[in-house]
Amino acid sequence: MPNMSLQKNPMPSQEPEVRNKNFLEVALGYTEEMAVDEAQRCLNCKNMPCVKGCPVNIDIPGFIKEIANRNFEGAYGIISKSSSLPAVCGRVCPQETQCEGKCVRGIKGEPVAIGRLERFAADYHNANFKGEPEKPASNGKKVAVIGAGPAGLTCAGDLAKKGYEVTVFEALHLAGGVLVYGIPEFRLPKSIVQREIDGLKAIGVKIETNVIIGRTITIDELFEQGFKCVFIGSGAGLPRFMNIPGENLKGVYSANEFLTRVNLMKAYKPDSDTPIKENKRVAVVGGGNVAMDAARCAKRLGAEEVYIVYRRGEAELPARAEEIEHAKEEGIIFKTLTNPVEILGDDDKFVSGIKCVSMELGEPDESGRRRPVVKADSEHVIDVDCVVMSIGTSPNPLIRNTTEGLETNKHGCIVTTDESGLTSREGVYAGGDAVTGAATVILAMGAGKSAAEAIDEYLSK
């Protein structure tokens, strides 16, 4: 008999007033009892709508059944057939619009907590599994993967499992991409990312850090070196600014810079050499998940007041509901329908305030969301000493500028022929944010997965 409770088992978490002062993980994870109880809420539907909502098609009812049967390692085995990074996805996937959004239990009450169960199975495996993963026999074919983020790592993992000799080239000093430089420790502990990467290394994936494709070596040279295929998963790393006066004042950061200083360079730790400005009042401009991450980091670094400044309404915030809720609990102040027009500075050119106008919602625009229009005589100044611009990123131009015959669109995104990720160059595939522009970790993983299949098909001919 399934558990007919209308609510999910709540996630044990650190208290808001405690966690907004530390960088430890917010969500603590289910106990075995909670996981089994939650797993029993699954009705094991025949048509499996949840699986259709998953970009990497995990057999969701299958793994949940194993949890209900207390076969936790078996549950992990099922997930890992489809996902290279289960402990990561269980934490950062927007389940509410994917698997859980399609769950039948969600029609009346809350859906099954699929994400939390996935995380539970992955954490159980990581804590308890002691054996060595099996290294597949090599087929002798070399594939190069550019970028050690979610798309690249997934593609590398899938190809390695099929026997390819995969080398991942990473520009930074550490593999993980946005998982290490962008998403903060309190949402995704870096030890978990490292463990997933170690798992890939154990099955034979080589990772070369400090290699900037387009500078240290070009794609054409990779082919000369004997690589048969190249997958580009270089992400969308170039930050956008608003082009308003005062953006180059001291104390204005792109979200990328702010988060990289905190997450990759560990500026919050006393033994890190990388500095970050100490701020009392911070305005984060933007309403996405990255903005929530930046705001919550600013709070943890000791800022007294942290604002989210967003030009549309609360209902239009693109961030996940869970992230917005967490941010509010931690004391982040939301200034929606507010748009910056200028950043103000003091005599020493440090930020002293942000001049904004109030907005109201007009007719829907091409995105279907109601267009914000400026309210007359609504100019006002919010006193802040730091501004973080979190209004999106574009693909990095380095690869497209150094690879002849690689077609890109007007936004700088690499053009692919279809879902396989094949680009305008033979043997060159691409996926993730480099193709779509800034999107989610799981969509990038899905693209890496499809490309791995297409590469295998191409090289098996």
Partner: protein, 279 residues
């Protein structure tokens, strides 16, 4: 890991190191830079490439001890390894078609001006080098500049060596004496580049400057290195590091480059025993 194969003090505050980094050496060109980290907790700092040896697979860096990381770097010795060394980054100096160029170097900036002068000399360009230092004991790379310059003006602020005066005095004199340059390339402290650009602007001579702002990744990701050039925001790491000196907003760049000075001083005081109270 990237081994330090040679270390040489050029003067009390400037050090040269050859670093084993074959992949970087294979591609390095004058004007480009690298990003390094000394150790696991180190910050990422950009340094412009001073020279390279493709056969030996080494890249030469020359740095002035100005902050925590260069201090740490200076404490490392031959045989030690740097944690990270990535590059070459940025665009190479544009040298094609240049027939006569004045290369202006100031202080440790001469370390970056030198490979540019050398490259220009190697392609048959007439090179007039003007190098400036505060005093005689800080002079670096004199022989190297002599070897690749058709004319060399040595300037010191205090007159203890060469001619007393600023590089702009020498540059102005050369121009006034009738020398006609296709381009002036100025590399040194921001304040020097600002005044070189102001000088050449009067004469309408194209002037290139090399910017070295605070960066993290060096690949276009953080935007920390942004500058205003001709009213537009540019990223030094991917759009530069060289820009038209007549268009760069030097005052803004000077402010931004000093942003973390208070932090660094405090950090230094925390670690330096001289600042600690006697227990």
């Amino acid at each position: 890991m990237y081994k330090i194969v040679r270390k040489k003090a050029l003067n009390p505050t400037v050090t040269l190191m050859d670093i084993e980094a074959p992949a970087v050496a294979a591609k390095a060109e004058p004007g480009q830079f690298i990003i390094l980290r000394t150790d696991e907790n180190g910050e990422r700092i950009p340094l412009t490439i001073a020279d390279y040896d493709r056969e030996k697979g080494t890249v030469t860096i020359i740095f002035q001890i100005v902050g925590a990381t260069t201090e740490k770097l200076n404490h490392m010795n031959e045989g030690d390894c740097l944690q990270d060394f990535a590059g070459p980054l940025g665009r190479a100096t544009h040298t094609e078609g240049l027939k006569k160029v004045a290369v202006v170097g100031g202080g440790v900036g001469c370390a970056i001006a030198y490979p540019v002068a050398k490259k220009l000399h190697s392609i048959g360009c007439e090179v007039h080098s003007i190098v400036g230092f505060r005093s005689k004991d800080l002079v670096i790379l004199e022989d190297e500049f002599k070897a690749c310059s058709d004319k060399l003006c040595m300037m010191t602020d205090d007159g203890s060596y060469g001619t007393k005066g600023l590089v702009t005095n020498a540059l102005k004199e050369l121009i006034d004496s009738g020398e006609q340059y296709d381009e002036v390339i100025a590399i040194g402290p921001l304040i020097m580049m600002k005044f070189v650009a102001a000088t050449t602007k009067e004469y309408g001579i194209k002037t290139i400057v090399s910017m070295n702002p605070i960066m993290i990744d060096g690949t276009g990701m953080c935007g920390g290195c942004r500058l205003t050039v001709g009213g537009e925001t540019k990223f030094a790491c991917v759009d530069g590091p060289e820009f038209d000196g007549h268009l760069v907003d030097f005052d803004e760049a000077m402010g931004r480059s000093a942003m973390y000075k208070p932090f660094e001083r405090r950090k230094h005081e925390e670690t330096c025993n001289l600042f600690k109270e006697v227990k």
